[in-house]
């Protein structure tokens, strides 16, 4: 058995290739959280009074809340007073074009494989880059404006479209929602804002790239996407962070609003630094993502590939309020070494004939722990609602774990819920079969894992699907025997 064990060990020695630190001069708030810090952030961003009030209300609420303990994850207590809540690259000031962006920053994104230079950028993808707490640059803005599409940093939206922000901010995830979302509401620094006007099909894939660089800094971004009647948008989100020995907190909030007949497709590739082999360092990814199909025939689709972070705690959810609205959740979550993930979704059926689909694929390797937690709730009003859930787990090696926690609440007798679950293990005989055809063990594992995830990858936009495949291969390196 020795050779395979050796391969397994090798696998876990993988390198996190985004672990570099950029040398960018930053302006940071002192560590700690109090009303002054919140005022400082709000003032830095030149925010209107109502937004500062909203933040302060959230902060007061947060002080009364307790950190949730129900998730299947384990971590030492977080010292919220040692975290830095605001850090911004210094040179930026009022950035108007790419020429004004710190070249060191552009280099960083270049290294990450995210070209911000529009000529070089992938055709058909507009990018908003968020570095630590601020949006650095948004590409293809002009072209989008011609269609009436707003795609900008959250801070800019507060300045230029306050009426939209005021109307929708907190409308899906209220500031009272949960410990981490409430913390985010108090201290969020930037993020992306998207508005698609009625009847417009967004001609580009919109994408935000998040990067945590500064030390001891939390990243609290806020994304708000509003798709007006009959519009369509596909949005992608990617994230990386340097390798650091201490844990860093990432508590983001994403709110999606789909009006009548609108469609939002939201794809995530999450590759925050997962910590080292022994579980030292890594990002705590405690994120609240929720969308509402506010009116009839709307559709929201979440697709996520979660390979990074020391701990992932997130449940992208859909509130299916409009009649005939559709919610989808497609997920691949991979945990290797000491990574932990407690992830899943909530589908809340309120409108008539609402439909939801959940396909979750959990892969555990090394000593990784992977939990699926999903809720399907059909309210009294949800006549003829339907759900299909499929949760598959794959185990690689014998030190990892997979757990499934489905919650089903049906209050309407016409509701239909189907749930399928399976657990499989990559068997030595499968690997040997591949070996015997000349395929080395690592390639065999990667092939079997891809086979397992295929249903999810086909939901991803093209550019992302390729990245997801590569990422999975890297994340699995050295994990099997």
């Amino acid at each position: 058995m020795s050779s395979d064990t050796a391969i397994l060990d090798d696998f876990t020695n993988r390198q996190y290739k985004y672990g570099f630190v950029s040398n960018v001069e930053a302006e940071s708030a002192p560590p700690g959280l109090n009303e002054d810090i919140i005022r400082f952030i709000s003032a830095k961003k030149n925010e209107p009074e109502w937004l500062l009030d909203w933040r302060l209300k959230a902060y007061k609420k947060w002080l009364e809340m307790e950190e949730p303990e129900w998730a299947f994850i384990n971590y030492p207590p977080i010292d919220y007073q040692s975290t830095i809540y605001y850090s911004a690259p210094k040179k930026k000031a009022e950035k108007k074009s790419l020429e004004e962006v710190d070249p060191e920053l552009l280099k960083t994104y270049e290294k990450l494989g995210i070209p911000l230079n529009e000529q070089k950028a992938l055709a058909g993808v507009a990018v908003d880059a968020v570095f630590d707490s601020v949006s650095v640059v948004t590409t293809y803005k002009k072209q989008l404006e011609e269609h009436g599409i707003i795609f900008c940093s959250f801070s800019e939206a507060v300045q230029n479209h306050p009426e939209l922000i005021k109307k929708y901010l907190g409308s899906v995830v209220p500031y009272t929602d949960n410990f981490f979302a409430t913390l985010n509401s108090a201290v969020f620094t930037d993020g992306s804002f998207v508005y698609i006007p009625p009847g417009v099909r967004c001609p580009l894939e919109l994408s935000t790239y998040f990067r945590i660089n500064a030390q001891n800094t939390g990243q609290f971004e806020r994304t708000l996407i509003v798709a007006d009647k009959g519009s369509y948008v596909s949005y992608m989100e990617g994230c990386t962070a340097p390798m650091r020995d201490e844990n860093q907190l990432h508590a983001a909030v994403v709110e999606l609003v789909a009006l009548e007949g609108a469609q939002i497709k939201y794809s995530t590739i999450q590759n925050w630094y997962p910590g080292d082999k022994e579980g030292k360092g890594g990002i705590y990814n405690f994120v609240t993502k929720r969308g509402i199909c506010a009116e009839a025939n709307a559709k929201i689709s979440w697709t996520q590939v979660e390979t990074g972070s020391a701990i992932t705690w997130k449940y992208p959810s859909c509130i299916l309020k409009g009649d005939n609205s559709v919610g989808e959740f497609y997920s691949v979550a991979l945990t290797n070494n000491r990574q932990q993930a407690d992830t899943g979704t909530k589908m809340i059926h309120i409108g008539k004939n609402t439909k939801s689909t959940i396909v979750s694929k959990g892969i555990s390797a090394g000593e990784g722990q992977n939990a699926y937690r999903g809720m399907v709730k059909m309210m009294k009003s949800a006549d003829g609602a339907r759900n299909f859930s499929q949760c598959d787990s794959m185990l690689i090696g014998d030190k990892c774990g997979a757990h499934t926690f489905p919650y089903i609440e049906v209050m309407n007798p016409t509701g239909k819920v189907e749930h399928e679950a399976s657990t499989s293990k990559i068997g030595e005989d499968q690997i040997f079969y591949c070996n015997q055809r000349g395929i080395p063990t690592e390639d065999a594992v990667s092939m079997l894992v891809h086979g397992f995830c295929k249903e999810i990858f086909k939901e991803l936009p093209m550019e992302f699907a390729v990245e997801a495949r590569q990422l999975l291969a890297v994340s699995l390196e050295g994990s099997v025997g």
Binding site: F432, C434, R437, G438, P440, L448, K454
Partner: protein, 263 residues
Amino acid sequence: MVNLGWSNMALLEIKNLHARVENKEILKGFSLTINEGEIHAIMGPNGSGKSTLANVLSGREGYEITEGSVTYMGKDLLEMDPEVRAQEGVFLAFQYPVELPGVVGSYFLRTALNAVREHRGLPALKLKEFDELLKQKAKLLQLDESLLKRSVNEGFSGGEKKRNEIFQMALLNPNLCLLDETDSGLDIDALQIVSQGVNTLKKEDPKKSFLVITHYQRLLNYIVPDHVHVMVNGKIVKSGGKELALELEKQGYSIFRENENRA
């Protein structure tokens, strides 16, 4: 046939091989020489160590070699990782081919073939070239191409699985083909088709060598061996020509067992 700098030697030389599984000795001094182009059959009762032999030769984990040597094309086979043995041209047609859910057959084969080609210093085949090769081999072996669009072995019938093994053999073009109880679980029609496949490959490349492991004589009606060996209790107790198989069919293995002190 790929020549990797080896010549004038036996293709495979097994000398006094002893192997154990969890402290139980299974192979107890097994010796056999296979030359280029020869077909050898190993017959024996259940528990005689036939499948262990196939597993040890192909490098499956869990076997401890305590004594003896295996030389393949002048190299120490036992030193090689399983994938290297495959790349060097040792192919095992499995008794129970496993299912690989989600892994499409043609993709699997292309990955395998390119790994083998890379080892042999050949460039990877482009998708189009590979497709043509696939078509050509499927035609040669009368394999339904739609099988290759499905996940490897998933939901295949027993016969389809075995045919798929022979098809993979044709595509990867090995020097030494080990057939482990290829006849088990096959009805007579499937048996004929699989045997025809083997014979077609042999005809195409007479230098290919085969080691056919079987419990029953009937497979040897279709794949005619040059040498037949009787294996009992971990070693060869008798060798002969193809007529030995017929003899065995009549007499059974009991005659060989009488001289053995089986536990």
